[in-house]
Amino acid sequence: MSTNAWPRNRQALLGWLYATPTAVFVVALFVVPLLLVIKMSVSRWPLLSGDQGINAPDNFEKAIDHRFFIDSVVFTVKYTVLATVLLLVLGLGLALLVQESSRWNNLLRASFLIPSALGLASASLLFYVFYSPYASPLAPLMKSWGFTFLGSPTAALVSTTFLIVWRYAGFYMVLMLVGLQGIPADVFEAARSDGATRWQTFRKVTLPLLRPTLALTTVLCVTGSLLAFEQFYILTKGGPDNSTITVVQLIYMVAFQGQNDLGVAAAISVIVLVALVVVNALQLRAFRSERS
């Protein structure tokens, strides 16, 4: 951008002008709700009768003592590790596969990316039918194997993770692809003329230079998985036998399905928010320090 043509203060004004729409949305849709959630978390706030005044720190005590709190945290972490490892490995693998030009390149890229065009809720509904022992095209198979996709805790976790991998692998592939294409070609050439094998090139050249992309995708994937909701809400509803309750689902349950206590739900939300900030800070720091 050419900067000299504009007086400095005018440029600053223009900057503010550009930033205003975003700032308005951030304040209205992010800061205000955030403050309200914090207020809610320190107030007695039943769903049906509204604000009943400050009661801190009762909500936080109730949140941590909730009979599903520990279970949901453990399950969420388990799911996050599983989804992150699978998505990153698969995303990178697919990116490497479609990176080199071949005849099937466009077809492959498109077919990996198409699931990303589907909303997560729609994708979950699609798989709900696909997994249903009643309506699924696989129903006869399930019957002869005596197995259902959502019938046992492990099956439900694996089936839901499969949906997520199907839905997001293409998205992570694109991110990895952008990262891969950002690596200058001469580095690879140099490695090749030094006689490096393919594996050595991958280990010593590709991976280190891909670190910023890996950091981004890890943060994205971990954050997304820790906040998992739609897929479990639609596919398992926390079942079978309360084995797949994620933290966000717990928030929803406490708020709207039985306990109907917005205060406690907001308290869990605040706990999750703090945990997320800490986790993301740690991740970014880990990637940065390794790089320097």
């Binding site: 309200l36 959502l150 909701f229 079942g239 928030i251 929803y252």
Partner: protein
């Protein structure tokens, strides 16, 4: 890339943390509404019909009956009722958000098991003066009236009664060599009939089905089996669960045996409610404990009987929805006009009974439509022996997807184990909260 990151995180955030914040955002806008407008107590016996537009919310399972009632009312009155049907699972959240913001519709229906709590929270206006003025007050369904009565003040009238009944598919019974005109009289006979249908080994056909991952379905269909044999499910004050008692144990063991024998539709294990009746309606299930509101939409010849207990008897869960005027309604007198019409012989007989639904007034039970279909007579008879449990924390203890009741049933039936008294204690703990 940075932009994609921010947007995605924000969206997750919306799904997660803001689930509560959104409700709050709505809740923060109102708050100081306290009725106002016309006073319902002075509305006169029939209320006001002056061409007002009234809003009415109900949940999806009762859509058919609600539509029939609203259409019939709109056809004969100047007031016009606008019906909104909400999916079952979202109903509490929607009502909750509206209640907090003073945005409830004029009239709204509530699952009768939630009514005690909602009346206690002040969501409904006091209708006792109006209801006491009805000449047929004593014949209105007592379970529904009692659920909506707090401190002697009635707030809620029965909107649609939904009774759980034993339905059997006569065609499948005949094929299995059973008497298609004879209902099982005990739970053991029920199990034997289910196994007989299963024994035909007909492709896609099962003996029976149940919503084994649906707390509400199980309450609706299994509580009557306990009542039928003289058992209790809750203490009178609704604070203690009696679901570990002997009669209840017999119900669980019968179902456990049925499940093990393979006579239960396999998808019952994960059934959370939306399709729990589908297999029977498609004619693929021999017999089932099934909602009576579906009688008119079951397309083949079925038999209907009360739900038997382990040692015989018959009972039913008098469920369905109660309806009242919301705290936020400014047209209470007009809303009462709809309610008083809804209780009239015209609406009960010519709309509900005509659709093969149960009337909510005992004095109208023997109407001309019931006389034409002996199954309706059976349903009306059993309705008198039925019950509606009342407890403040009913939703959390029984209907919620993570309820302790569901844990108890699944441990007893699917896992054939678990500590029954401990699971029952969990229900009591929630009821006492």
């Amino acid at each position: 890339m940075r932009r994609a990151f921010g947007r995605r995180t924000d969206r997750r955030w919306l799904a997660g943390v803001l689930v509560t914040a959104l409700a709050l955002g709505v809740a923060a806008c109102g708050g100081d509404d306290s009725g106002g407008g016309t006073d319902v107590a002075q509305a006169g016996p029939n209320g006001v019909d002056d061409g007002s537009e009234l809003t009415l919310w109900t949940r999806a399972p009762l859509e058919k009956q609600a539509k029939l009632l609203v259409d019939a009312y709109n056809a004969g009155h100047q007031n016009k009722v606008k019906l909104t049907v909400v999916p079952n699972d979202d109903y509490v959240a929607k009502v909750g958000a509206a209640a907090g913001s003073g945005g409830l519709p004029d009239l709204f229906a509530a699952d009768i098991v939630y009514v005690p709590n909602w009346v206690n929270q002040g969501l409904f206006q006091d209708l006792s003066a109006n209801i006491n003025g009805l000449s047929f007050k004593d014949s209105i369904n007592k379970g529904h009236l009692a659920a909506g009565t707090v401190d002697g003040k009635a707030h809620v009238l029965p909107f649609v009664l939904d009774l759980s009944m034993l339905f059997w598919n006569k065609k499948l019974f005949k094929e299995a060599g059973l008497d298609p005109e004879k209902a099982p009289t005990t739970l053991a006979e029920y199990a034997a009939d289910a196994k007989a249908v299963q024994a035909m080994k007909k492709s896609g056909v099962y003996g029976t089905a149940a919503g084994l991952n649906c707390g509400g379905c199980l309450v609706f269909t299994w509580f009557p089996a306990i009542w039928a044999s003289g058992g209790e499910v809750l203490s009178a004050d609704g604070k203690e669960s009696k679901l570990g008692d002997e009669t209840a144990q017999k119900v669980y063991s019968t179902w456990q045996d049925l499940w093990k024998s393979g006579a239960v539709l396999p998808s019952s294990e994960g059934e959370t409610g939306p399709t729990w009746t589908a297999a029977f309606t498609e004619g693929k299930v021999g017999l089932m404990l099934y909602p009576a509101t579906l009688l008119s939409s079951t397309p083949f010849d079925v038999g209907v009987a009360g739900i038997p207990g382990p040692s015989g008897g018959a009972s039913t869960f008098v469920g369905g929805d109660g309806i009242g005027v919301s705290k936020d309604s400014k047209k209470a007198a007009q809303a009462w006009n709809f309610l008083s019409w809804m209780m009239s012989e015209q609406a009960q007989v010519e709309v509900l009974a005509k659709d093969k639904d149960v009337v909510s007034r005992a004095d109208l039970a023997n109407n001309k439509y019931a006389a034409a279909d002996p199954r309706l007579v059976t349903i009306n008879e059993v309705a008198g022996k039925g019950d509606t449990p009342v407890a403040l924390n009913f939703q959390q203890a029984f209907n919620a997807p993570n309820s302790p009741w569901l844990t108890l049933v699944r441990n007893q039936v699917l896992k054939a184990g678990g500590d029954l008294q401990k699971d029952n204690g969990e229900i009591t703990a929630v009821l006492k909260q």
